[in-house]
């Protein structure tokens, strides 16, 4: 370590204005921090906290609507990014590299990735002969198994993890002093996330780079941070060394975020109840294409599960594991090609007409995206009351019930006359829950219902689910990729991979004593082992 005392990057008292009419005056204000050589500073905060705006400001890429009004940004003591000129931009791109949340989207879809990496060298004046060898060497450095074939690939041919390696290669190609990573692992599966985090740590020392890592996940923070700055509503509420903050968080908000990062499978045990829903070796195959061009995809293979009244079953797996397809089968939205589905002992597999309608009213669903799940032209009360009206209730009665439901999920009666656009993500998810519960379901299927929400809101919605379950006694199937969410809410769990169940059992025993190698790997990859032990 050389010059440990000279900061690579120094932000002093940064203030960035929001346009008139935004929900607050400043996007960020009074933000100061420094990053020293070979250090990783984690900027932690939830959506809207202003953390990405800071990254844009450092890169000199702030949109015109968000001007830097106060403060100073010093990179290596020379470059002040508020100066917007082509020369400064070029210099900035040499000294800093940036990686993004969606790696595939940050690559040009119709160009080979090798050529895209070479372009970086081209615009920075590296000769034609040198370019390809340098790119290939870089591809080896980011541990792509087959650099030559990766060089010739298109972005869509790569997995999210591979694409992120490419983007990292691009960011480090010019040997920058600082790597800015904006939620680079948020869109990845846990196992891939663990690999990418390890790679970043390794390359940091190999290339002698500092890292500014932006994330909302304290689990990730605890794995990689040297320094931590916690942001809320455009201001830094707490900053310091990783050790200090992880062990003795001072600010209430930091404590809340930390708590959400702990995997806690110590939910109290439920008494045995009758079985309400049963799936017996169900399979679902998607067929695509036409005539000469047919393909098959086995989304669900021989999955069996049993749901007890009033209990919660978590379905855990990475993307593509068939969790959502399983939900569609159980909701009878897809017709399965093999197996049987029983509801209270009645065979529902091929049920039609009145019985199916009745079944549907007993099984309700809450989806991941609270923005897409509500029709923007429906008032809240109409959205919630629609279900009972379809099932034969009068409008007056349904509206009355809808108001009850609103208060049940913690929203005011005044919300009833408003439109979905006027609510935040968390509030919308409450509306979706109210809409599901008005049907007095016996089973509630939640498909990644808290995944799109910020952690602090996630905690509140999970509490709401649990509280409502105690009061109303419905059973839940909770589909999630997040082991912490599964541990917090479920009584039993099934782990899926490639459409099959690899392990199932009571939640505490699966999490404390996993049997299948895949479950073990998932648990080992889950970020945040430094935050707290698995209880």
């Amino acid at each position: 370590m050389k010059n440990t005392n000279t900061a690579i990057l120094e932000l002093s008292n940064i203030g960035i204005r929001l346009p008139l009419g935004a929900d607050r005056e400043w996007a960020v204000r009074g933000v100061s921090f420094s990053i020293f050589p070979q250090q990783t500073l984690c900027l932690v905060g939830e959506s809207g906290s202003g953390k990405s705006v800071i990254a844009q400001a450092i890169m000199g890429m702030l949109p015109a609507a968000l001007p830097l009004k106060e403060g100073k940004i010093d990179l290596l003591g020379k470059i002040t990014p508020e100066q917007r000129s082509p020369e400064f931009n070029l210099l900035r791109s040499v000294k800093m590299g940036m990686i993004f949340q969606d790696a595939v989207a940050s690559l040009n879809p119709i160009k080979r990735v090798g050529h895209q990496l070479e372009e970086i060298l081209l615009v920075h004046g590296v000769s034609r002969k040198e370019r390809k060898p340098r790119v290939l060497k870089m591809l080896r450095d980011v541990l792509l198994p087959n650099p030559e074939s990766s060089y010739n690939s298109y972005p869509h041919e790569m997995s999210g993890g591979q694409a992120q390696r490419i983007v990292i290669a691009g960011a480090l190609l010019l040997n920058p002093a600082l790597l800015i990573a904006d939620e680079p692992t948020t869109a990845l599966d846990v196992t891939t996330q663990a690999e990418i985090l390890e790679l970043i740590t390794k390359l940091k020392s190999k290339f002698d780079t500092s890292v500014l890592f932006i994330t909302h996940d304290f689990g990730v923070v605890s794995d990689i941070a040297d320094q931590i700055a916690v942001m809320k509503d455009g201001e830094i509420v707490e900053q310091g060394s990783a050790q200090n903050i992880l062990q003795k968080p001072q600010h209430e908000y930091t404590q809340k975020l930390l708590k959400a990062a702990i995997l806690d499978a110590s939910k109290e045990k439920l008494e045995e109840t009758e079985e309400i829903l049963k799936a017996d070796a169900i399979s679902l195959t998607y067929k695509k294409g036409f005539l000469f061009n047919q393909r098959e995809f086995k989304a669900v293979q021989q999955v069996s599960l049993s749901l007890k009244a009033g209990s919660t079953l978590a379905v855990v797996g990475e993307s593509g594991s068939g969790k959502s397809s399983l939900a569609k089968c159980l909701l009878r939205l897809e017709s399965i090609d093999a197996g049987r589905i029983f509801y209270r002992g009645k065979d529902m597999t091929n049920q039609k007409g009145v019985l199916l309608k009745d079944f549907r009213s007993k099984v309700q669903v809450v989806l991941q995206d609270p923005f897409g799940a509500l029709d923007p032209r429906f008032k809240i009360i109409d959205a919630i009351a629609e279900g009972p009206i379809i099932h034969g209730s009068s409008r007056e009665k349904a509206n009355l019930r809808a108001l009850e439901m609103l208060s049940l999920v913690g929203l005011t009666p005044q919300s009833a006359e408003r439109y979905p656009q006027e609510f935040s993500g968390g509030q919308r998810q409450r509306i979706c829950i109210a809409r599901a519960l008005i049907m007095r379901p016996e089973i509630l299927i939640a498909d990644e219902a808290v995944s799109a929400l910020d952690v602090s809101i996630q905690v509140k919605i999970l509490d709401l689910f649990e509280d409502l379950q105690k009061r109303l006694g419905f059973a839940m199937i909770f589909i999630t990729h997040d082991l912490r969410v599964a541990a917090a809410i479920s009584d039993s769990v099934i782990v899926m991979k490639g459409g099959k169940v690899v392990e199932s059992g009571p939640t505490p025993s699966v999490f404390k004593n996993p049997q299948a190698p895949y479950t073990k790997m998932l648990l080992a990859s889950a970020p945040g082992s430094g935050v707290g032990e698995v209880k």
Binding site: R92, S93, V94, S106, N108, I110, K111, H124, F292
Partner: protein
């Protein structure tokens, strides 16, 4: 990949077969062709003679299979008017139509895409609004009206008659109809390329390119524009498909000696063989243009190649 190509070819074949059959049905049911061809006051025996000569006295399905058989042998029948084969009549007129259509497409593409790009880069300001206003005007203007206006302006302003040079194909002659025909598609190309470019220009990979230090001009030319061009290919395909059918009205207005004029005349004289062949040719152009677009996508978009 081979599966993809085979299934596309098969679909094209089915589409053409359906068109052939529909043309057959419509023409048979729009009145007795033999009666239409015979002189107006011909007695029934003469009409029957005509029918027998043309094979119209046989049952419908025999006529249909004969007709299909002839088509597969490349025999599309003879014009009753001139006695020449409908194919040779069509081929005589084709160069004029392609000349007109090709030139108008060229105008539409260059002017339209340039305007669209300019508008996208100046989003929201005066230039953008002017381009958009022009493009609405351009495709809202019916070409028979605009064509007449062009002729009128030429005659009154420049003492030149632009309404047709008879059977000759000349530079001066082709420009007014080509401009008229190109105007409408210029408007849609401008609008379409503007929205396509605006969408691409804010894509994450263009921002990421900025972060990598790639200049604005290079981002536009090497990253945004090639991606924005992909949906344009579909529009170009549609234009190519309408190359023959699109100019019928304009050819009438400017007395341009192309296929459109032949079609109108053949319909008026109930020259069934010629009408049949032209309609088929129009359908075939559309089908092949679509096929071309599908295969072009294979070349320009690696994502489709992968599927």
């Amino acid at each position: 990949m081979t599966g993809f190509i085979l299934s596309k070819l098969f679909r094209a074949f089915i589409t053409l077969l359906l068109t052939v059959s529909l043309v057959f049905i419509f023409i048979r049911f729009s009145g007795d062709p033999a009666a239409a061809m015979a002189p107006p006051d011909a007695p029934q025996e003469v009409i029957d003679q005509y029918a027998e000569k043309l094979g119209l006295d046989k049952p419908l399905w025999v006529q249909y299979t004969n007709y299909l058989g002839q088509i597969f042998r490349g025999d599309f029948g003879y014009s009753v008017d001139s006695g020449r084969s409908s194919v040779s009549l069509f081929l005589d007129r084709l160069p004029a139509t392609l000349y007109l259509g090709g030139l108008s497409l060229l105008i539409a593409l260059t002017v339209g895409i340039t305007l669209g790009t300019v508008a996208a880069l100046n989003r929201g300001n005066f230039l953008d609004r002017s381009v958009m206003a022009f493009s609405v005007f351009a495709f809202a203007m019916p070409n028979f009206l605009f064509g007449l206006a062009v002729i009128l302006i030429g005659a009154l302003g420049f003492q030149t008659y632009l309404g047709g040079q008879g059977a000759t194909i000349s530079w001066i002659g082709v420009l007014p109809p080509a401009l008229t025909l190109g105007l409408a598609s210029t408007g849609s190309y401008a609008r379409f390329s503007r929205s396509s470019l605006l969408e691409t220009i804010n894509k994450p990979f263009v921002l990421a390119a900025e972060a990598r230090g790639i200049s604005r001009a290079r981002r536009l030319v090497f990253h945004a524009m090639p991606n924005a061009a992909i949906p344009l290919v579909t529009l170009i395909g549609l234009s190519l498909g309408g190359l023959i059918a699109g100019s019928v009205v304009t050819e009438q207005v400017f007395a341009w000696p192309g296929v459109g004029q032949l079609l109108v005349r053949s319909v008026a004289t109930r020259d069934i063989a010629t009408v049949q062949f032209i309609v088929l040719a129009i359908a075939a152009t559309m089908v092949f243009a679509n096929l071309l677009v599908d295969f072009l996508y294979l070349i320009i978009d690696p994502r489709i190649r992968a599927q």
